[in-house]
């Protein structure tokens, strides 16, 4: 099948150990990088065209070029992975932590970071142990610390555990959290931590998967990476497939080369639905994204293709909802998530998320009225005026305007289902 970049080693026995990594070409990219000029590494990354894998899909090379040149500047790896149904970083940190570390060190060298952090989701207990062991091994091996491999380049890498708050995946909240504070997203401008970030210093925040691609890019060149995929969607991507599908899992695919249908139905990928069922909806890119119907199954898994169709590739997750599952219930559960995870700074997000959840719950259990649907849409409109995509914002971060996506999608696509809940005073589906 397609080239494997980030999952090339994940199936090896003891894939997380330094010895396995070294046997399979590990840390050669770092050695190569340290012999290059930092700006040449940056040029390779720009040439690769890699888009950030954290959700926003911002070009990594461009982000790096915006970093202010202060002798003190930081690199922070975002391993908070909490977007529901996203579990690709989970695989990468447990199965190939050295790849992540190597990518981080190359990037730190390329941008001249004075210190690097990996912020890892607190609930990844095994991941924390694997990454910490790998860091320890890498220090002992001379890949981190003073004068790495005799190159004259020094840097420290610290693993920071999170403690259970989805919002800390948002890069400015992550920075606050890393500073030992409540994970409140910072108000923009400045729009990028590259100007003012951790401890007020210029900071680059990149996702685990983004970092994990860097060693391959350095080994094989940016061009080789860019030759995979199409358009702005270069390289491969890890797609996390879940929900009503026979073989949920992480699948690394060349970007834009396959469609949602391929991912869900290919025997070696999702292997289709359960017998006798059909696709009712798919949620691409995490629960913040608007839903697609079966008519979008043939859309290629590419950044711009999905955006053009009115949703987003986001974190690369794909949830399948089949015709035996309740759309109202799924949308309610998603609003419940946002309600629990809103940081609470912005009035519309803090209060709106709870209100919407309550109405959705009422409808799901059969206590809703028809006018609730208009109310829901209007409350959503007060959070994200216009209910357009990408949404307009009344809040500090984009968690707020993500709340309406699933509610509005569900009402638009399955109004009948809502009405049945209301008329029959309960959920028509068996759970």
């Amino acid at each position: 099948m397609t080239t494997k970049i980030v999952t090339a080693r994940t199936n090896l026995p003891d894939s997380y150990r330094l010895s396995t990594y070294l046997e399979n070409g590990g840390y050669q990219a770092l050695r190569k990088a340290l012999s290059m000029n930092p700006e040449d590494i940056q040029a390779e990354v720009v040439a690769s065209g890699i888009l950030g894998r954290g959700g926003a899909g911002f070009e990594t090379g461009r982000k790096w070029s915006m970093l202010k040149q202060d002798p003190v500047r930081y690199l922070v790896v975002n391993g908070d992975e909490s977007e529901p149904s996203t579990f690709k970083d989970h695989l990468l940190v447990e199965a190939d932590p050295h790849q992540l570390i190597e990518g981080t060190l190359i990037s730190a060298y390329a941008i001249g970071a004075s210190m690097a952090f990996i912020y890892l989701r607190g609930e990844f207990a095994l991941g924390l142990e694997r990454v910490q062991s790998a860091i320890n091994e890498a220090y002992a091996y001379g890949a981190i610390g003073r004068d790495i491999f005799g190159s004259g380049f020094s840097i420290d890498l610290v693993l920071q555990p999170g403690a259970g708050a989805y919002i800390c995946g948002e890069e400015t909240a992550l920075i606050e959290s890393l500073e030992g504070k409540r994970g409140y997203p910072r108000i923009k401008p400045p729009y990028f931590p590259a100007v003012i970030g951790l401890y007020g210093k210029p900071t680059i925040v990149n996702n685990v998967e983004t970092m994990s691609n860097i060693p391959w890019i350095i080994t094989n060149g940016g061009k080789a990476f860019a030759s995979l995929g199409s358009g702005r969607s270069t390289g491969t991507r890890l797609f996390a497939l879940s929900g009503d599908v026979a073989k949920p899992g992480n699948y690394e695919l060349e970007m834009a080369a396959s469609s949602f249908r391929d991912l869900i139905f290919s025997p070696e990928l999702g292997a289709g639905l359960f017998p006798g069922r059909s696709v009712k909806a798919i949620i691409p890119g995490g629960v913040s994204a608007p839903w697609f119907g079966p008519e979008h199954l043939d859309l290629p898994l590419g950044q711009d293709e999905v955006a053009k169709a009115g949703s987003m590739l986001g974190s690369g997750s794909v949830i399948v909802i089949d015709d035996h599952s309740c759309a109202v219930r799924a949308a309610w559960r998603i609003t419940k998530f946002f309600h629990r995870e809103s940081c609470g700074q912005c009035t519309p997000c803090r209060e709106g998320s709870g209100w919407i959840e309550k109405i959705m719950h009422r409808i799901e259990i059969g206590a809703g009225t028809e006018s609730d649907l208009d109310l829901l849409l209007d409350v959503c409109d007060n959070i994200a005026p216009g209910l357009s995509w990408p949404p307009q914002q009344t809040t500090i971060c984009v968690l707020g305007p993500s709340i309406p996506s699933s509610v509005v999608s569900a009402i638009k696509m399955f109004r009948d289902e809502f009405l049945i809940h209301i008329k029959e005073e309960g959920c028509p589906f068996v759970h």
Binding site: I187, T347, E351, G354
Partner: protein
């Protein structure tokens, strides 16, 4: 503030109107200045912006067209196009208000904030008008006390972060925090750690809803029943601007007003809640004459005639020298002047003093180059040689803390003990007595004693002659004689003549006392006895023939039987004089003591005659704060019973002994003051009541033109009830608003330079006596905000915060004498007085030193200060 910036202004368009704004100014402020009010909750102009409530959303043009932006966070930029009244903006604001209300209890009928609530007001103006929320609201236990002074109702909280931001950023007391996440977020304290900040009342004032309420105000009144008047707080020498609010002739609440020069809207809790003392049942409300061990009420006429015959009798028999006056620090300038004129200009005694051994002599003060508060917070270096200002002048501490945090100035402290300034100072030095002189002498040179001090001073850009240096000068340690401070100051002023001094004595109107002759050897306006000003010669018929006595000297004379009559005007030397052994024995020896006071204090309750004085808010006049700013204090309520303003009592006595003081109102007194004192030239109530001068004016006025501008309402939503005053006028003030744009320079009689008389010379007393080789321990004697005293005793809520006198020593010292925290020690003073105190360990105290707090409860006979000692020592033993 008044620099002309019009040429740097940029243009923006708000709702199609062209508006001028300062570059970098926040959109919400620029709009407000242009008369366009954008609703808001979290925005507070004195706090860093957080943009959390999202109430202030407006449409702002950008590269991708108009988008909703928080106007409290977006700075203006040239050509910016802003829409504040579109359908989209209205819908967003409507939405935010609806969201805020869904979890709000709507218990307005029983909420203190009802009627002055920005949430109510803005709901009316911008809100949806009906509720679509049919679900269960969030619930919390209804109000919980988070301190003795503050209640918290978390159901009402709208999470604007104002209180928490204030506590953390401004006060530096991060004792309240957001707890929880999302709509479960609540403000709270750490379990069992109350919100014991000196500044907690400010959070109540800036809370936009009734989430934080003040214990002393709870359920006392409705805002529409409050009448109010602007005034100045007289709890300490800062003179914070306040609004005094009353209901049914009772003062109910103070609100901090925002003055750029003085308090930035903040108050300390002692100032804010001290109004409870005004309605204390222990007020003296009728003249009382002593009969044996008790008092009987008498008439004013009788009381005045007794005084008059005492004065006449003494004057005829022995001369006016044996009559003395001790003037308290809470009197108005007009009160002080009237009593000084009675004493010096009618009776002819110069024995008038207003400092109780805790001051700095007028000779020294008047020789110093004075700094304003704003000078201090913008100076290159602040050198602090004063008591803990957080304890003594709390809001000055806030101003200085802010300046340091913003990098505007650096602080060096000279101290014998740790203080709250340590947290914001770059360097702390603990010089011995001998080191003080070289320290002063080498302050801008290379000091061999404290090289880090002079090097910081130099590297910060202070010039060799002291330009850029402001000294906070007060009484760092009351156990060191005032001559120590004076010698240091004079020496420093000599080597660094451009250095400025902010005299940080605690007594509220100490400046008025010094400037108006309530000190021996000076006449009002700082004229010397021998050389009265032309004005004085015209207005006064006589002058004392020779120098009078200070309080200390009066008491010493009393011990020799040489004081026959002493007036205590709002002064309680039995508790407040530093050497209470001396004051108590001396007062017992004086033939006749008249106390004019608001309460029965230790001193008045043993006086021969007690006259009831009108208190703060019961009279009007002016005060002079520590930076020589003259500000008005205004009357809000009528005095209880037979209480009369102090100045009026002086007039009555003068009349009775056959002399008319020549005035019959504070206006006339201030008129006379401005006539006889070049320092006070140009002052009048009329001028002070101009909108521009409501925050007072620093004297001496100069002929520099001041641009007078209407003062903006600073934090529109946290000065409850005040907006209306601009429309109504000051209901019961003697003064009224004159909205004038005239500049002060239009007066033709302005003096070209101030004619402040040069002070009588005092020679520094170097070398200072060496530390005696004794087993006794050097003492630090200092003030605490909640030291026991009249105000605290008579304010029920504050009295719960009174600090027990404790003996504080370092852990080393404790180990050396074998005591532990919570155990007791016996302290013995020079006179053999002793007290037993609990030990508190504080490693900010030097090894072998002992710290005691001034204001002991009266049960202790211990009185550690001997006025003639340069340094005081105590003996310490474990019990």
């Amino acid at each position: 503030m008044s620099t002309d910036v019009s040429k740097d202004l940029i243009s923006i368009s708000i709702d199609g109107r062209e508006v001028k704004a300062r570059p970098g100014e926040l959109l919400i402020a620029a709009a407000e200045e242009a008369g366009i009010f954008i609703p808001r909750f979290c925005y507070h102009p004195r706090l860093p912006q957080v943009g959390m409530c999202r109430m202030c959303l407006v449409e702002v043009s950008g590269p991708r067209g108009f988008s909703l932006q928080p106007s409290c966070y977006v700075p203006v930029s040239d050509g910016m196009d802003v829409i504040t009244d579109s359908e989209k903006v209205k819908k967003a604001q409507d939405g935010v208000l609806e969201f805020l209300l869904i979890n709000h209890p709507l218990d307005c009928p029983v909420c203190d904030k009802g009627g002055e609530c920005p949430l109510q007001d803005q709901t009316l103006a911008y809100g949806p008008g009906e509720s679509r929320f049919a679900e269960e609201k969030r619930h919390f236990e209804k109000p919980i006390a988070i301190s003795e002074l503050v209640f918290l109702d978390r159901e009402r909280c709208i999470q604007c972060d104002r209180c928490t931001r204030f506590a953390d950023v401004v006060a530096g007391d991060a004792l309240i925090e957001f707890i929880g996440r999302g709509d479960n977020t609540q403000v709270n304290v750490f379990p069992e750690r109350p919100f014991s900040s000196y500044f907690s009342g400010n959070t109540v004032q800036i809370c936009p809803v009734g989430a934080l309420t003040a214990a002393p105000y709870r359920f006392k009144s409705r805002p529409w029943d409050l009448a109010q008047v602007e005034s100045s707080c007289i709890t300490c020498s800062m003179g914070c601007r306040i609004m005094v609010q009353s209901s049914q002739n009772q003062v109910i609440r103070y609100i901090g007003l925002d003055s750029d020069q003085v308090n930035h809207g903040w108050l300390c809790d002692k100032g804010r809640f001290g109004h409870e003392s005004l309605s204390s049942p222990d007020r003296v409300t009728a003249p009382l004459i002593r009969k044996g061990d008790s008092y009987v009420e008498t008439s004013w006429a009788n009381a005045i005639s007794i005084i008059s015959s005492k004065i006449s009798g003494i004057k005829e028999k022995i001369g006016s020298d044996r009559i003395g006056f001790i003037i308290g620090s809470k009197l108005t300038n007009e009160d002080i002047y009237a009593w000084v004129k009675l004493a010096k200009g009618v009776i002819g005694t110069d024995s008038v003093d207003s400092q109780l051994g805790d001051g700095i002599s007028a000779d020294v003060i008047s020789r110093l180059n004075r700094a304003t508060i704003n000078d201090a917070v913008t100076s290159k270096v602040v050198l602090s040689f004063t008591g803990d200002i957080k304890e003594e002048i709390p809001v000055l501490y806030l101003r200085l803390r802010e300046a340091v945090k913003n990098g505007n100035t650096k602080v060096i402290t000279i101290a014998t003990h740790s203080s709250s300034l340590d947290g914001i100072s770059e360097i702390q030095v603990f010089p011995s007595l001998d080191q003080l002189r070289p320290l002063a002498q080498q302050i801008t040179a290379d000091s061999s004693y404290f090289p880090e001090v002079s090097s910081l001073i130099k590297s910060s850009g202070v010039s060799a002659d002291g330009e850029g240096l402001v000294v906070l000068l007060g009484r760092e340690n009351l156990a060191w004689d005032q001559t120590v401070v004076e010698a240091f100051a004079l020496e420093l002023a000599r080597v660094a003549p451009k250095a400025k001094f902010l005299v940080t004595l605690h007594g509220s109107n100490f400046s008025g006392g010094v400037d108006l002759g309530a000190v021996p050897r000076f006449l009002p306006g700082r004229s010397s006895l021998s050389d009265p000003s032309a004005g004085l010669r015209q207005k006064w018929s006589r002058f004392p023939s020779h120098n009078g006595k200070s309080v200390k000297e009066m008491f010493k004379s009393a011990l020799k039987g040489e004081m026959d009559l002493l007036f205590l005007i709002g002064s309680d030397p039995r508790t407040d004089f530093v050497d209470t052994t001396l004051s108590n024995t001396a007062l017992d020896e004086i033939g006749f003591v008249v106390s004019v006071d608001t309460f029965m204090s230790e001193s008045s309750s043993r006086a021969d005659l007690v006259l009831p004085a009108a208190a703060f808010a019961e009279k009007y006049g002016t005060i002079t704060n520590l930076e020589e700013r003259i500000m008005t204090v205004n009357q809000k309520v009528t005095p209880p019973g037979l209480c009369r303003p102090d100045w009026e009592i002086a007039c009555e006595i003068a009349l009775e002994i056959g002399s008319d003081l020549g005035f019959s109102s504070p206006e006339e007194i201030l008129g006379e003051i401005s006539n006889i004192s070049s320092l006070h030239w140009g002052l009048s109530f009329d001028r002070l009541s101009r909108l521009s001068a409501l925050d007072g004016v620093v004297i001496p006025l100069t002929s520099t033109p001041l641009t007078l501008k209407k003062k903006p309402m600073f934090d529109q939503i946290s000065t409850p009830g005040i907006a209306s005053v601009w429309n109504q006028g000051l209901a019961s003030s003697k003064t009224s608003f004159i909205d004038s744009s005239a500049s002060i320079s239009d007066e033709s009689d302005s003096p070209t330079e101030s004619k402040v008389p040069t002070a009588i010379s005092v020679e520094p007393i170097w070398p200072l006596p060496p530390i005696p080789g004794t087993s006794e321990m050097p003492l630090v004697y200092c003030r605490r905000l909640y030291s026991q005293g009249q105000l605290l005793k008579n304010s029920p809520h504050l009295s719960r915060l009174a600090v027990e006198p404790r003996c504080r020593i370092s852990s080393e010292t404790a180990r050396a004498i074998g005591v532990a925290v919570g155990e007791s020690v016996r302290l013995t003073d020079k006179a053999g007085g002793a007290g037993v105190f609990e030990v508190e360990i504080d490693d900010g105290i030097r090894e072998g030193w002992v710290e005691m707090v001034k204001g002991m409860s009266s049960s202790q006979s211990f009185s550690p200060i001997r006025v003639d000692e340069t340094m005081n020592y105590v003996k310490l033993e474990r019990v």
